[in-house]
């Protein structure tokens, strides 16, 4: 038994970190209804600021630490409060997407300020020497200190919420913010305070955890994601539950160290928090409720994604965009003749990204099912091609079809939570799925090929070889064209309507006779299958496969870019892909540093979109149309109404279905 003690000690250390983070997450969710996906990014930026003060400028920890926790972290919290306040009550997807954009924002800032965010060490705040407890058991002062700090912080927070005026005010605001404001409680103050407390906890997490990792833009963030599980186990409401289950998860994650240090078991062990998160979400299912904040329905003008009241104009517009699409497509066919060789490879990846973008538009924009795991499907397609397409790629077609077939059960697994969960919890479940795929599947040496990786062949289909970069490009372009055409036809037909009504009112759809289970799973499976096809192409196009290409963070980027482009329109996928090529893949001859600013711009753009979740492009289109219609007013009866919609689309969301 005593052999377990060292692992329990490590587990309690990890658990304390999870506990701090989970309490920070629960606190802001309770008071503001925002689940902060960017919590790890808060910890990260705090750790970098601390590194700057303490390790780079050699300030004493006695100055740097108070400065961090009393000035910097609260400032971050203040920013969060200011950004999320206008989003209160919007549909759950908006704060999700905005907080994902916050991750991108903080990452971009770190990369810009700290020299590309290169890995560096952070000196420990608490000395790492250890003391002898009993038998063979040594406990590090840092481990003990972290546990004590977490207990003290958690206890203080609990006391604050239980026994002070702030606590009473918080509970009042959580219960009913309108009533609370009537009796003179300033809800804004309560929310601001809880954001600040939450980011201070995040700062603590960053400073306490970083010395055990290398400080970069990835690791710290990933570890903090582990705190999502205890937060959800606590149903995003109970602080003691969050802390307690965090300790348990920390210990569970550490104990198996005794038996294995590599291979599948080790992968499962390090993924334990995400597996627990996924299972918890499925088991708790219906019991999980979105926070008590009344959800304002998205106003019609926001929801109509540029669908014009005037059907004639709508048809005109559709014809015009189809024309533009066809012209673009023809242009793309001749593009390899214009641009230099290496750029064709980038264009190919961009085209594959656009295919994935289309699956996101269909799933998220049309059917209203958020998915943060789309690139996991891409990875499945890519690795199956990498392993099974044969030396000269003659089995490419079979491997691609197999990848698509494997995507069917996987799509059902990702879709399962959607039967009982929506909005935030669905997003969390898909994120957990992506993290499990990263940790267990793509991290497995037998699949990824370890350090040397594996090389996928260029395809040979029915004797036709696509070995050259240009041929590969044309193959991908052809597939994108086919996928776009299919999506376009679907959108106009019964299946498109079926998907749209799933997002607009699942309740009404159900009562009209729609089987929600089949429809939702169908949407997840179809988009997963096409993403796997994109993955097969990606494998053959890139050839050298790297698990990083399919990481959850790529899925998050894809969601951001598609949202930026307009998640309800197919052009959104294209605009997202173009942004990806320019800002992330280096299509244009611009300095590397400029890419960081483009990524920063993408993050800011999405954050700015908060008020109009349908995409900047939709806004600019609406604006363009409005100014056009002012220039040449057409005497048509529905014109006035249409204009009215556009004007309203710039105001805050209105109660479109007040009904009562």
């Amino acid at each position: 038994m005593s052999a377990y003690f060292p692992f329990i000690v490590i587990g309690i250390f990890t658990g304390s970190i999870y506990g701090l983070a989970a309490m920070g997450l629960v606190l802001t969710y309770k008071t503001t209804g925002v689940f902060n996906f960017a919590y790890g990014a808060v910890a990260m930026i705090c750790a970098f600021v601390y590194w700057q003060m303490h390790d780079a400028w050699h300030w004493s920890a006695w100055i740097a630490l108070p400065l961090l926790l009393l000035v910097v972290a609260p400032l971050v919290g203040y920013i969060f409060e200011a950004l999320f306040r206008p989003l209160a009550g919007l549909s759950a997807e908006v704060p999700i997407v905005v907080s994902i954009a916050m991750i991108a924002l903080f990452t971009a800032i770190v990369v810009i300020v700290w020299n590309g965010g290169q890995a560096r060490g952070l000196q420990p705040v608490i000395p790492r020497s250890s003391f002898h407890l009993a038998g063979h058991l040594f406990v590090g002062y840092d481990q003990l200190g972290t546990f004590v700090i977490a207990c003290l912080a958690g206890g203080a927070l609990w006391w604050l919420l239980r026994h002070t005026r702030f606590g009473t005010a918080t509970r009042a605001v959580v219960d009913n913010r309108d009533l609370a404001s009537i009796i003179g409680i300033n809800g804004d103050n309560v929310r601001r305070t809880s954001w600040i407390l939450s980011t201070v906890f995040g700062g603590l997490v960053g400073v306490l955890l970083s010395p055990d990792l290398v400080l970069d833009t990835n690791q710290l963030f990933l570890v903090v994601l582990g705190a999502f599980a205890p937060a959800v186990i606590a149903r995003l409401t109970s602080l003691p539950w969050a802390f307690g289950s965090a300790l348990v998860i920390g210990v569970i994650q550490s104990i198996p160290h005794k038996w294995s240090s590599s291979g599948l078991t080790a992968n499962i062990e390090s993924t334990a928090p995400f597996i627990i998160l996924f299972i918890t979400l499925i088991v708790l299912g219906n019991q999980l409720k979105e926070s008590g904040m009344a959800v304002r329905s998205v106003s019609a003008s926001q929801a109509s994604d540029g669908l014009e009241a005037d059907e004639v104009a709508h048809a005109e517009r559709a014809r015009r965009s189809t024309l533009i699409g066809v012209a673009l497509f023809v242009f793309c066919i001749f593009l390899p003749n214009i641009v230099a060789g290496p750029k064709v490879g980038i264009l190919t990846v961009g085209i594959i990204f656009a295919i994935v973008g289309v699956t996101l538009v269909v799933l998220t924009g049309w059917a209203g099912q958020i998915s943060l795991a789309q690139f996991s499907f891409v990875g499945v397609g890519a690795y199956i091609v990498g392993h099974l397409a044969g030396h000269n790629g003659s089995n490419f077609l079979g491997a691609a079809l197999l990848g698509m077939a494997v995507a069917v059960p996987l799509g059902i697994i990702v879709g399962l939570p959607s039967l009982r969960l929506k909005g935030l919890y669905l997003a969390l479940a898909t994120l957990a799925f992506a993290l499990i795929m990263d940790g267990v599947v793509f991290n497995d040496v037998r699949i990824s090929g370890g350090i040397s990786g594996i090389i996928a062949p260029r395809p040979r289909i029915f004797g036709v070889s696509f070995a050259s970069t240009t041929a590969m490009y044309e193959l991908c372009l052809g597939v994108l064209g086919a996928v776009l055409l299919a999506a376009l036809l679907l959108r106009r037909g019964p299946i498109g309507r079926r998907l749209l009504i799933l997002r607009d009112s699942p309740l009404a759809a159900q009562m009209l006779g729609v089987n929600l289970t089949i429809t939702k799973l169908g949407a997840f499976v179809a988009s997963g299958v096409i993403a796997a096809l994109a993955g097969a192409l990606f494998g053959s196009a890139e050839q050298a496969l790297n698990p990083m290409n399919f990481q959850f963070s790529v899925s998050l980027t894809a969601v951001l870019l598609v949202v930026l482009g307009g998640r309800s329109v197919l052009s959104g996928a294209i605009i997202g892909a173009v942004t990806y090529m320019v800002g992330y893949l280096g299509l244009l001859p611009i300095p590397t540093a400029a890419h960081n600013y483009i990524q920063l711009g993408v993050a800011l753009g999405v954050i700015g979109l908060g008020r109009n979740p349908e995409g900047t492009f939709a806004i600019s289109q609406a604006e363009a149309r409005r100014s056009m219609s002012i220039l040449k007013p057409r005497p048509r009866r529905a014109r006035v109404a249409a204009l009215d919609v556009r004007v309203r689309s710039h105001g805050p969301a209105m109660e479109a279905h007040s009904g009562v």
Partner: protein, 280 residues
């Protein structure tokens, strides 16, 4: 004010079985297309419904009324399959359907509207109706029956009076038109029974009158007294005007059932509900 309103809807409905007021616990009368028998629902410690009977009769508009919190919405959701009753049976056209999920009930001919509008906000009014038709007709996803669909949608739009706004985006319509879209959508599913949840809320007097006229023209339109209508309403004048039979709930119990005249005369109902303001 309403003493002259003795169930005018009977005029429209032609030959229908007489609406005998069913006593508590009675089995379904012959004319019932949809019956709730002895329904009880408990939410934790709260007894939301206690052994309630309700019969929706062919060829009629049946009213379900009661003060706030009486259990009307719960009853409605039990009928639709959104809430499973702790006790009792829901019988649709002779078949017990307790275990049917909502979409199966929809396909079988039960259609409903919502108090808080549940429109397909991003689609045009016409597409709302088209989507409804497609949802309830198997094979429609594969494009089958397009001609039938066109005809049906056109018919319903004319009946409900939505041609004017056919191409407007549903989400931008005022509540009154929104209610009509929901009614039209329900009608596109070829319903055998129509369940209407507070259709007059948010409507002014004129709109309510318009709605009730449409409603009366719809009842029994398919023959054999179908669709029958269940109307959950706050607006007493509307209920008294259009309903042939009324069931009154209070605190989860059925306190009365009968014709409007009987309900109006019922002392218990007056005490519980009508009392001070409306009918006095």
């Amino acid at each position: 004010m309403a003493s002259d309103l003795t169930s005018p809807s009977a005029v429209d409905t032609g030959t229908v079985p007489a609406a005998g007021p069913a006593g508590p616990g009675a089995s379904a009368p012959a004319g019932a297309i949809l019956s709730a028998n002895g329904i009880s629902v408990r939410f934790g410690g709260l007894q939301a419904l206690q052994s309630v009977d309700l019969h929706v009769l062919r060829g009629q508009i049946t009213g379900l009324i009661g003060p706030n919190g009486a259990g009307k919405t719960t009853m409605f959701n039990v009928l639709c399959g959104l809430i499973a009753p702790t006790e009792g049976k829901v019988v649709f056209d002779g078949t017990t359907i307790n275990r049917w999920p909502p979409h199966r009930r929809g396909r079988a001919g039960m259609a409903r509207t919502f108090q808080r509008l549940e429109l397909f906000t991003r689609m045009s009014v016409e597409d709302n109706l088209v989507a409804a038709w497609e949802s309830s007709h198997p094979g429609a996803l594969l494009g089958r029956g397009r001609a039938t669909r066109k005809q049906k949608v056109a018919e319903v739009m004319e009946l409900v009076g939505l041609e004017r706004v056919a191409n407007r985006v549903a989400g931008e319509l005022p509540t009154g038109l929104g209610r009509l879209v929901e009614l039209g959508r329900a009608l596109c599913t070829d319903p055998r029974v129509l369940l209407l949840d507070e259709p007059s809320s948010g409507l002014d007097h004129g709109e309510t009158q318009h709605f009730s006229q449409i409603l009366q023209s719809v009842v029994g339109g398919r023959g054999n007294g179908e669709p029958a209508v269940l109307l959950v309403e706050h607006d007493m004048a509307l209920v008294m005007q259009v309903c042939s039979t009324i069931t009154v709930l209070d605190f989860g119990r059925r306190i009365a059932a009968g014709t409007p005249a009987e309900i109006r005369a019922d002392a218990g109902v007056r005490a519980a509900y009508l009392g001070e303001s409306d009918v006095a």
